[in-house]
């Protein structure tokens, strides 16, 4: 008797298993977004930066951001109150720290995201993985992905996000303000020679930035150009090459900002580095890590960098700037 029971048990297990596998496959078409009570609310449709069609409520109320720059942008649009979840890396503005955390941008916790009941998830193409976007898609959660690659793209992206989040007027105002500040900066820097800079992403090992990154474009807007011209985005650079290029300035952002003086002092003592002209002349520029965040705050960092690289353009008597910057309040 015992013998005949066991194969049955085994068969039952496998049938159950098979049924559930089939079930998992059947889940492929996204289930309708939950809470049918909200159906009365109007639904709008957008094409995101990846060209995907995204259907979302006209005024999304529970937003989850999967990237620090998007978190900053939502707050800059005065919509921080609607932000339900952010990543572990979203540290600005400080208020972002009070939101629920959903893990890192590369491997966010889907369960955590779902339990926040978002009506919109914001993602970037650079920081997030396509797999995450697809998985959220299957779960019926709308994902809007941005992909700004230049400073101008960020301005356009801010305008667009205002529209997507149902705050078109604020998005337009913020984007226009950013445009004015960029125009003002360009006016100040007009006719000045480009500073040849070496941007230090990481010191040990020495990593810089290629010409196609967002940082490289931000540097161009600050009246400078990177001496690194290779195809990769984050190349490891030989110190010999830095010496050969002999940059006017070394630029540090973010990580090294904590104690820039210590970094600079240590560089002065390092063989090789100490013979670099920029090091001997003390030509270091230190800016906030906002320089590498495609969000409105990047303008502060760009202006800050321009001021350090071209002090003559900002010399007193301070002419009224071409564009007043009410946005400075964000600092």
């Amino acid at each position: 008797m015992k013998r005949s029971r066991n194969p049955l048990k085994l068969a039952a297990v496998w049938i159950l298993f098979g049924a559930l596998v089939v079930r998992a496959q059947a889940a492929a078409p996204a289930p309708p977004p939950e809470a049918p009570a909200k159906a009365a609310e109007s639904i709008v449709e957008f094409h995101d930066d990846l060209g995907r069609r995204v259907r979302l409520p006209a005024v999304p109320q529970r937003i989850v951001s999967l990237a620090p720059n998007l978190t900053e942008t939502v707050f800059a649009l005065d919509l921080g109150a609607r932000l339900a979840g952010v990543t572990d890396f979203c540290d600005y503005p400080p208020e972002a720290r009070t939101r629920a955390r959903v893990g890192g941008p590369i491997n966010p916790n889907l369960e955590e995201i779902v339990s926040l009941h978002p009506d919109l998830v914001l993602a970037t193409r650079v920081l997030n993985r396509a797999e995450t976007v697809e998985a959220l898609d299957r779960l019926g959660i709308p994902v809007y992905t941005t992909d700004p690659r230049t400073v101008e793209d960020v301005v356009a992206s801010v305008r667009r996000l205002g529209e997507v989040l149902g705050a078109k007027a604020r998005g337009d105002a913020l984007a226009t303000q950013m445009q004015q500040r960029l125009a003002g900066l360009a006016l100040r820097l007009r006719g000045l020679p480009l500073r040849r800079v070496f941007f230090v992403v990481w010191l040990d090992p020495l990593i810089s930035t290629g010409p196609h990154t967002f940082i490289a474009d931000a540097i161009r807007h600050a009246g400078a150009e990177s001496v690194v011209n290779v195809a990769q985005d984050w190349p490891q650079i030989n110190l010999e090459e830095v010496l050969r290029q002999n940059p006017d300035y070394l630029v540090f952002a973010g990580e090294h900002q904590d104690d820039p003086q210590a970094t600079i002092d240590s560089l002065k003592k390092r063989p090789g580095w100490s013979s670099l002209e920029a090091v001997r002349l003390g030509h270091f520029a230190v800016v906030s890590d906002a320089l590498d965040r495609p969000a409105p705050r990047m303008l502060d960092a760009i202006e800050d960098l321009a001021r350090q690289l071209h002090p003559e353009a900002f010399a007193p008597p301070a002419a009224p700037p071409a564009a007043p910057s009410p946005h400075r309040g964000l600092d």
Partner: protein, 338 residues
């Protein structure tokens, strides 16, 4: 050793399947959101009986649409890698053989990456690339491991380690020189990642798992004879060339497909067959199904730990298996030398 009877085979498998069901149940229970055992039981019962509409949509989404597909993938990947490990151990007559240690996983990873670079738009390119990479790496290790016409245990292991590090270097080279946007997140994938299973891939993988394990199982009796030596097996009437080819292709397919969906999850293929051998003996007719179930149990456990230990942040599941697997490997190696 007790002889293998159909009854013992079924009892062992039923017991392992029971443990697997238990592990799956608890893996469904644990996560960022807690759910009581009663609620989970009710949810599963309603789902199996087709009354999904009575389930709270929140739990349905989290348990059935997030945790369950991930667990299914973990089971399939675990079973694939373990059976592949057991097969390589028979093929190379070395108890330390494992897709990860032998560099077969690295070959599959390199194959996937190359297929992403050259043929990202072709459907099925990644699993095929991974399969081709696994086959090539196995062949390379096989020839590196031969000394004087015989497979040498140490030459084989060294060959595998060297192949793995060479292929890893190639992967690093590709990842630093090619700034293709598709390669982003790849470092994470290389550590083993089960977090975003696609239902289509899972379905295919299940099919291939059944076919691959089935093919290898048809050679189980011959594998037992082969363990005593190729010459001896040949004298006993085993078609050694055919058996080795089936096992070689089957194990490569299983490794390639597991790696293409989940990255390199190491040491499962080493640990699980070894434990199964300790517990149930080394008869391949029992070893193969028991290893498949054991591998499923091991990877579901490892992935449950990976996603709950530092929640909401998730660890790569490959790190979890290596943390346990590497010390055991050293232990086995030292014991083998003593």
């Amino acid at each position: 050793m007790r002889p293998l009877t159909p009854r013992r085979l079924l009892l062992t498998c039923a017991m392992l399947a029971g443990i697997l069901l238990l592990v799956v149940f608890f893996s469904l229970k644990f996560g960022t959101r807690s759910i009581s055992i009663y609620d989970l039981g009710a949810l599963l019962f309603r789902t199996v009986t087709g009354h999904t509409d009575q389930v709270s949509s929140d739990f349905r989404l989290i348990i059935l649409d997030i945790r369950w597909p991930r667990i299914v993938l973990a089971m399939i990947v675990g079973a694939s890698l373990s059976v592949a490990g057991a097969s390589f151990q028979a093929l190379l007559r070395n108890p330390l053989a494992d897709p990860y240690v032998l560099g077969v996983s690295s070959g599959a990873a390199l194959g996937s990456i190359l297929s992403l670079i050259w043929a990202a738009q072709l459907p099925g390119a990644t699993p095929f690339g991974a399969f081709a990479g696994a086959i090539a790496a196995t062949a390379a290790v096989y020839f590196l491991g031969r000394r004087g016409g015989e497979l040498d245990s140490y030459a084989l292991l060294l060959g595998g380690i060297i192949t793995a590090s060479f292929l890893s270097a190639l992967i690093m080279f590709l990842m630093t020189t090619i700034s293709g946007r598709e390669l982003r997140g790849m470092a994470f994938w290389l550590m083993g990642d089960l977090s975003t299973p696609s239902p289509v891939a899972t379905g295919w993988l299940f099919l291939v798992l059944v076919l691959g394990v089935g093919a290898i199982y048809t050679t189980a009796a011959d594998l037992n004879l082969l363990l005593g030596g190729e010459q001896e097996a040949m004298h006993l009437g085993v078609d050694v060339v055919r058996v080795k080819l089936v096992v070689y292709l089957g194990a490569s397919v299983l490794t390639g497909l597991a790696v293409s969906v989940s990255g390199a999850i190491g040491y499962v293929g080493l640990l699980v067959p070894h434990l199964v051998r300790l517990l149930f003996g080394s008869d391949y007719r029992l070893l193969i199904p028991a290893t498949a179930l054991g591998g499923a149990i091991a990877v579901v456990l490892a992935d449950t730990l990976a996603r709950t230990l530092v929640s909401p942040t998730q660890l790569p599941v490959g790190a979890m298996t290596a943390l346990v697997g590497a010390p055991v490997f050293i232990y086995l190696l030292r014991r083998g030398m003593a």
